[in-house]
Symmetry: C2
Subunit: 383 residues, 2 copies
């Protein structure tokens, strides 16, 4: 990397700086750097030397103007603080590096406006394509626009009906159904599901939760499978897990699949509060299925606050195999997702699209693994 | 966002596409888009319309060629899977957004070569400055070069002697000393420290651990405060915490500060193995201080595998207040770092430099908070 003490301090070199240093016009410098048009060999060399001397960073850009490729991928994740996305991000980065691509990451914190801004920024930075875990399943116009404009999009973890893009997910319905079946087999009948599955509706300031009562969803629980248009836009992943939960209850002859179902909105509801409400019922659940590891932590906190021991008083199972699930007492039984592989498959799908292979969108479904540990026991009233 | 069904399918529009569509030369299109030089109003309008029609994304770039500013910051973190960095990243993103900047993230996974590639990529993408948690404390030539070339660098969490850049850290020495003092006050004398603090040495393939025996560091433990040049390059944060640990032991009259000190290299050693070795000593430690939350998970795993209960048989305290530390039984006592504020202060320092304020580099030191929970008790042999 070239450094030079004589270049203007405090700001990066610009095209006019390079032109001045080389003693040529700006348009000649621009043509020389971009590698097209009529430039004398002498001028080209002077521009090259000036650019190197000043540390002007437009070479890759100039190349991308010609080839339309930068070998960078944009990855937009919904919540980098969720270990699931941290693991997927690692998978994306590793697979991209192996394929000769770099990754630019953006975090939306489950906010559609932030996602729109991230898509714009990454397109401005000329990424060759985008991997997106969309914050909302229906508000995807910005993704459709990118895709249509030749910046392919691959959806990760979540699907978006109406967006003709490849997607990589697990079988959320089947995995949830399997996990709840295991609770049924252990003897549980009062099985709860706790989930956060929606973003704030458009126009609702997500950062001022006081403007909407945090109990709104609890006061008027909508059917999450067919959400009210005015209610939060749920992500597909959560809905599929809820349907798997319901299917398992129904096949066990339990037709009431709502009593122990609690869903909240990201940044609005706290999973510990949703669980506390369940544990305060006159007939509380004896088992809880958490739809991700951060929700499981809320479930464990609420159980501890209620003086309940896992699994003697309350069985717990969760999606996502995090480091802590293996380290704590009792070790937590989980639905493990192949996080590295999810990221890698998304990268491979995206590169295939970038390299021009046409064809209808593909939905890749990866297997999960149920890992039995120590957090499921018989219900306390069965002994 | 404009979409257009007639644009060439499968690749983004390039400058030549725009020129062709507008019926002008490439150099005219380039001048029109970059907003300098001699272009007729008519040609300028045709280029603008063609660029919009084709979804050509060079507008921001063209602007940046003139102003030298893109209002994007690059953030390079060492391990996005560590909750500490996930939280810091959230702090960076929030503070940048509030200041009108976007953030491009890169993850190095504690690898100096990946860090170099990330710096190059982010400079190629014309970020205005970089926030870096450097993977190594001494191999920072690429950071010095970026800094000298007008791309200011702010160090986060870690310092680098010889790099004249602002840095934002906590008082690692003081916080570690305080945590170990609390173990001493509880009656412990055999207090262990477990840490991972180095990257693989240059030229050693980090992804083929088989080439270097994983016990190398244990077999020949170097003084981590003055590392052998051939040994891994330790990061400052870990060294300062070790010195704080030693200072606390010394002030309690314990002059042997090595017997229960175990350090490993990222990706080489497993903290659970380092702990298992300690617990197998004839006089095992009665308390362990973990230098981050991922190490604490290894300590807890090893304790469980040895049939030890926390805190009855083993007291545990760790740096970093993660969600799980509050949710598990027993709740873990921690040294909490102000993760959001660390990120925000780094953003503010960087923007101050970008906006041209000169002055000598500043080292901002933020306070930690010791949060006492349930993982510290008297040593078992004291009762």
């Amino acid at each position: 990397m070239t450094t030079n003490r004589r270049k203007p301090a405090g700001r990066p070199a610009t095209l006019p700086d390079v032109a001045r240093e080389a003693g040529v016009s700006r348009s000649t410098a621009s043509r020389a750097l971009a590698g097209y048009g009529s430039v004398s060999p002498d001028a080209r060399e002077r521009v090259r030397a000036a650019a190197e001397k000043l540390g002007y960073r437009a070479n890759q850009l100039a190349r991308s103007m010609i080839t339309g490729r930068t070998h960078t991928l944009g990855a937009i994740v919904a919540d980098i603080q969720n270990p699931f996305f941290a693991g997927v991000t690692r998978g994306i980065t590793d697979a991209a590096r192996a394929a000769g691509y770099q990754v630019l990451l953006a975090n939306t914190d489950e906010d559609v406006a932030a996602e729109r801004a991230a898509v714009k920024m990454l397109r401005d930075k000329h990424v060759d394509g985008l991997i997106v875990a969309p914050a909302a399943t229906t508000e995807t116009g910005h993704l459709a626009a990118a895709h249509a404009a030749g910046c392919p999009v691959v959806l990760l973890d979540r699907q978006a009906p109406g967006l003709p893009a490849d997607s990589v997910t697990v079988d959320n319905h089947g995995a949830a159904q399997d996990a709840v079946r295991r609770l049924l087999v252990a003897g549980h009948r009062r099985i709860a599901l706790v989930s956060l599955l929606g973003t704030a509706p458009v126009g609702t300031p997500a950062d001022t939760p006081g403007t909407a009562p945090s109990t709104a969803l609890e006061a008027a629980p909508a059917d999450p499978a067919s959400p009210d248009p005015a209610s939060p836009d749920p992500v597909s992943t959560g809905l599929e897990r809820i349907e798997g939960y319901r299917a398992a209850l129904r096949e066990a002859g339990l037709t009431d699949t709502d009593t122990y179902l609690r869903t909240g909105t990201f940044h609005r509801e706290d999973p510990a509060d949703l669980t506390a409400e369940l544990l305060s019922l006159s007939e509380p659940p004896t088992a809880v299925f958490a739809t991700d590891s951060m929700i499981a932590l809320g479930v464990l906190s609420a159980a501890r606050d209620h003086g309940l021991r896992v699994p003697e008083h309350l069985s717990v199972v969760t999606f996502d195999d995090t480091d802590w699930a293996r380290a704590v007492r009792p070790r937590i039984s989980v639905v493990a997702q192949p996080v590295q592989e999810l990221g890698a498959r998304a990268v491979h799908s995206l590169i295939t699209r970038i390299e021009g292979t046409a064809g209808t969108p593909e939905h890749i479904v990866l297997d999960t693994e149920f890992i039995e540990r120590e957090s499921i026991a018989s219900p306390p009233d069965a002994s």
